[in-house]
């Protein structure tokens, strides 16, 4: 029975299950027990995951497909169908979104259990809605459907950052996230308008056709790709639009893991990788992508060095890792970028969830200066967190090693300076991650005594997802083992090759490649040792000089406040209180005085009698009109 259009049904189910979960929990949140809410939400995502696995095997054997549902917009020659496209690239994202998403749903069921029933239902309905939009984003067969998911996930991010809506600071963070994303979205939209007018289509299968690409001038391609990249920079928190992501940590920790680490923020990477046929035609855009990515990676890493909030460190780390992914895209190593999306989804989700477990154990405390010595108290969290730290630092054979190595190698082939800076960033990563690790888990406990009493390991519904993610962080890199270590080991690039052609440029020799791996691994290990020496016995001290600048995030928020927010507010005030009153209204009043007729009318209106007179007039006009009408017949 699934013969004719089984893919159409499969993909429909993948997105409809989470939507059903959103509706069931959203509408029924007052009437269902928390247990029922959590089991609906989790089982529907599980269903979606199972269907995604089916879709993966189908694509693996039959290749990609485009599935038509209905016409979304058909105006003149412009045709924007509601279509899904499922291919190798989409499949990887489907599995990450539903798989990691499922683990985070399960974890949330325990993490959010203190919430009241109604808010618990609201939380899970938003979480399901997020999965729905994220799936639309990666399934869309054209830019407009992608954009539906794109803004949809932004909306869910907004709703979940401001989940505790009584706290005004959280609400401000939610607004900031939405508005900064909108800046990127505007650029995305303008790119689409450009495409609509130059090509008359936004469908991937048509835009990326060779003869259509030839119809675009190189200027068009550069403009479109740069605009799309601004969109990606908004969603994926790159310079200059990154400052919303650290503030987004106001949301519940599982939300940070799902939306602000594993899935939504990688949408920009997905979009650029999807558009690789366009990007490869503009070396200017490629350079902009690479340099922005690398600059973001370094900037965010330096800030992470001095942050004391456990979630903020991870947030800046996410910004930094996203920068690495863009570096990969910018040097043409699209599949390396996607590879890093995958491994990052594992280890960053793990780190956030483990951080959540720490916060849970500490009774809501997030400042790592008040932690220390937790390794003995929360054993599973400690070990899984350590796995995450090793993975992100890039020590073989953990997953982060393989994906980061692929990026560093691609950077080396492209430009030696890029490589050197990227390697420096990798060392910063290891340093701030292990600073975080040692401050949290080693040394002696620095918090309040009652917190120490309270310390306890999280329940299995939280630790099991941690263990699964830890295993994935350990083995997840084996799908992309470089050829120099194992012939045919890079299964991921081979799998993606129908969507992302494998680069056949100049490559470095095997010995150089091995040497680079050795250097980076050794340097990372040395860095970790330095971090151990510095932070195993932490003592609080005031930051001064450069450290203070880093602690204050290079004062970028303050700069934006002065350069953008204030002038806009000033203009609004000027227009509404001065210009509108004196210039615009003044003009009218002048006209008003000039019209002598006016004063009479005013008197009439004020007399109060005018109502019945003019009413009579209107009625008379109508009567005359109707008489006219019948007489003329």
């Amino acid at each position: 029975m699934f013969h004719i259009d089984s893919m159409k049904l499969l993909l429909g189910f993948i997105v409809l299950w989470p939507l059903a979960g959103f509706l069931i929990n959203g509408l029924g949140r007052k009437y269902r027990s928390k247990k029922a809410i959590a089991s609906y939400a989790c089982s529907l995502i599980f269903a979606s995951f199972v269907v995604s696995v089916f879709a993966f095997f189908k694509v693996n054997s039959n290749g990609g497909e485009v599935i038509h549902y209905f016409d979304f917009i058909r105006v003149g020659s412009l045709h924007i169908p509601f279509e899904f496209q499922v291919d190798q690239l989409t499949c990887i994202f489907l599995l990450i979104i539903t798989g990691v998403g499922l683990l985070i749903h399960v974890y949330s069921a325990a993490y959010m259990k203190e919430e009241s029933q109604e808010h618990y239902g609201r939380y899970f309905s938003f979480l399901n809605l997020f999965i729905f939009f994220m799936l639309i984003l990666v399934l869309g067969a054209n830019y407009v459907i992608m954009f539906i998911g794109w803004e949809g996930v932004g909306l869910c991010s907004y709703l979940l950052i401001g989940y505790w809506f009584k706290n005004n600071e959280y609400n401000k963070a939610a607004n900031k996230a939405f508005i900064m994303n909108r800046i990127g979205d505007l650029a995305f939209l303008i790119a689409l308008f450009w495409l609509v007018n130059k090509l008359g289509t936004v469908s991937f299968s048509e835009v990326f056709q060779a003869q259509n690409l030839q119809r675009l001038s190189s200027g068009d391609i550069t403009i479109i790709t740069l605009l799309l990249f601004v969109g990606a920079a908004g969603k994926s928190a790159q310079i200059p639009l990154y400052t919303w992501l650290p503030d987004a940590m106001a949301g519940p920790t599982p939300v940070s893991a799902l939306i602000h680490a594993a899935t939504m923020v990688t949408a920009g990477i997905y979009m650029v990788a999807r558009s690789n046929a366009l990007y490869s035609l503009s070396s200017l855009s490629m350079n902009v992508v690479a340099i922005t990515g690398l600059a973001t990676a370094i900037l965010a890493a330096t800030i992470a060095l001095k942050q004391n909030d456990i979630k903020k460190v991870l947030a800046y780390s996410t910004v930094s890792q996203l920068g690495y992914m863009f570096l990969a895209l910018g040097v043409g190593a699209y599949s390396a970028g996607v590879f890093h999306v995958m491994t990052h989804a594992f280890f960053k989700a793990l780190l956030f969830l483990a951080a959540g477990s720490v916060i849970h154990a500490m009774g809501g405390e997030q400042d790592i200066r008040n932690m220390g010595g937790l390794s003995k108290k929360i054993r599973i969290t400690f070990i899984t967190f350590l796995v995450g730290c090793i993975a992100i630092s890039g020590i073989p054979p953990f997953s982060g090693f393989f994906s980061k190595d692929a990026i560093l190698l691609a950077a080396f082939e492209h430009n030696k300076i890029l490589y050197a800076v990227a390697l420096f960033g990798a060392l910063l990563t290891a340093y701030y991650m292990f600073r975080l690790f040692f401050l949290t888990f080693s040394g002696s406990f620095r918090g309040k005594p009652e917190q120490e009493q309270h310390l306890h390991e999280s329940p299995p519904r939280m630790t099991v997802p941690l263990i699964i993610l830890a295993i994935l962080s350990l083995v997840g890199g084996f799908v992309g083992i470089p050829a120099v270590l194992m012939n045919g080991g890079d299964r991921l690039s081979a799998f993606l090759s129908p969507v992302i052609p494998i680069q056949t440029g100049e490559t470095v020799s095997h010995s150089t490649e091995l040497a680079l791996m050795g250097i980076s691994t050794l340097a990372v290990i040395i860095t970790i040792v330095i971090a151990w020496l510095n932070f195993r016995h932490y003592r609080m001290k005031e930051e001064k000089g450069f450290g203070k600048i880093l602690e204050n995030k290079w004062y970028v928020d303050e700069l934006y406040e002065q350069v953008i927010v204030r002038p806009i507010a000033w203009m609004g005030n000027f227009f509404s209180s001065i210009f509108e009153r004196s210039v615009v209204d003044g003009m009218v009043n002048g006209v008003g005085r000039a019209v002598q007729y006016g004063s009479r009318q005013l008197r009439l209106l004020q007399s109060g009698q005018v109502g019945s007179y003019v009413l009579l007039m209107v009625v008379s006009i109508l009567v005359i009109f109707i008489i006219q009408f019948f007489l003329r017949k």
Binding site: D71, F147, G162, N168, R182, F193, N197, G572, L605, L615
Partner: protein
Amino acid sequence: MEGLGEAEIMIVVLLILIPLLTGLAAFFFKDQRSVRFWALFSSVITLVVSLLSMTLLKDPQWISFHAAWMESLGSSFSIKLDGLGQMLCLLTAVSYPLIFLATWQTSYRNAKQFFALMLLAQAGLMGVFLSMDALLFYFFWELALIPMYFLCSQWGGEKRIAVTFKFFIYTFVGSILMLVAIIFVHSMTPDNSFSIESFYSAAIPHNQQDLLFWLFFLAFAIKMPIFPFHSWQPDTYEQSPPATTMVLSGVMVKMGVLGLIRWLLPVLPMASWAWGNVVTSMAIVGMLYASLIAIRQDNLRRLVAYSSIAHMGLMCAAIFSVDNLGLQGVMIQLFNHGINIIGLWIVVDWIEKTTGTRKISELGGLAQRAPALTILLVIVALANIGLPLTNAFPGEFLMFSGIMGSKATIFYAWFTAFAGLTIILAAVYMLNMIRKVFYGEGNSLSAGIRDIGWNEKFALGILVAIIFALGVYPQFLLNMTEEISGFLLGKTDVLHLIKK
């Protein structure tokens, strides 16, 4: 011509006749309760007729009507339901029952006059949207406006007299200019007629088109309104009774847009083409100007008013792109903008009634007390900022595509980029409003309130259903606009005209 009983009384006439006759009848009601039911009954019948005219009875014999009227002047009673008219008549027909329902609890002095005038205004609006004769168009234009003056001046807020005067002066000036322009064009028609066909075929020399263009444009720009002719609007919206504000902002401002599309662009194509850059610049400056003011507004009503100015500016810019995508975007947005802004007014009206203030700075924490209202408002607000899968997105997408693809200007990319900034600014003022009014901790004003009643919930629920339905399947509206857009653009094909 045969009597009224024959089948030749066209359904399209009913769209005007029902509100006209029920409106007149409303003067003779005794108590508020019965006249309120009467008005709701009338508006529901009109809605049914309107839906019939778009589905079962959409053959030409039903939807056009022509009768003699003031033949000596060259004018006739000629009405027709084309795609543009369909859109606006549907909007009028959908809005009225929802407005009556949402303001069900509001009590009025002289209720019978209030509802009678509301219905008469509806008849006028329908007439404006259907008229295919310039004089008839003018007649209905006035018929729609006059009840509005009374509604504002009799049932408005404290400053109603001064504000109505301002509103009156503005629209009066606009009407006079339009009348002059209509007579001017009439004198140049080949057959001395006011019919729309004659207007379309009038050969107007290029140098005279310019003057006529500005006469017409001012009339319509005041109505929409377009910067800098907008200052009547925030005041009027603030002072009018809520039901009237909903009609004014949801439906009546569309008279100006319809005027531009049906009576300006195809009648004066050369001038429209020549002045396109100027007019578009004004519209876009106005969009940014109004959005910036909206960000700093502390008054809920004025916030919505300025937000509406920004949205109308986009429509104006898209019209003068003279592009098929832009024009169809405008046409579907006529409907969608009305739906969304009425939703916002329902919420604002409820807040005012319940808390006694319209100041954002005095409000806070309503979400805890009124969760249903908050959910509905957030959806309407998201539609207002054009989020995908809400009704406003397809229209805005097409309008921007039209501006970008405009062949009437060389500044298309700049226009798109500057107009696009309002996409960001809209998110700023809408989300800040939500944050300040609904989120955060409650205060004394929000302490004792209850969630919205059944009538507001029902009205907002229907609006939200429309928002999602048209957001997912905008093609329903686009099917109506395809033909008329092509027809009008054919009349506006300047390159072709130059060759001729």
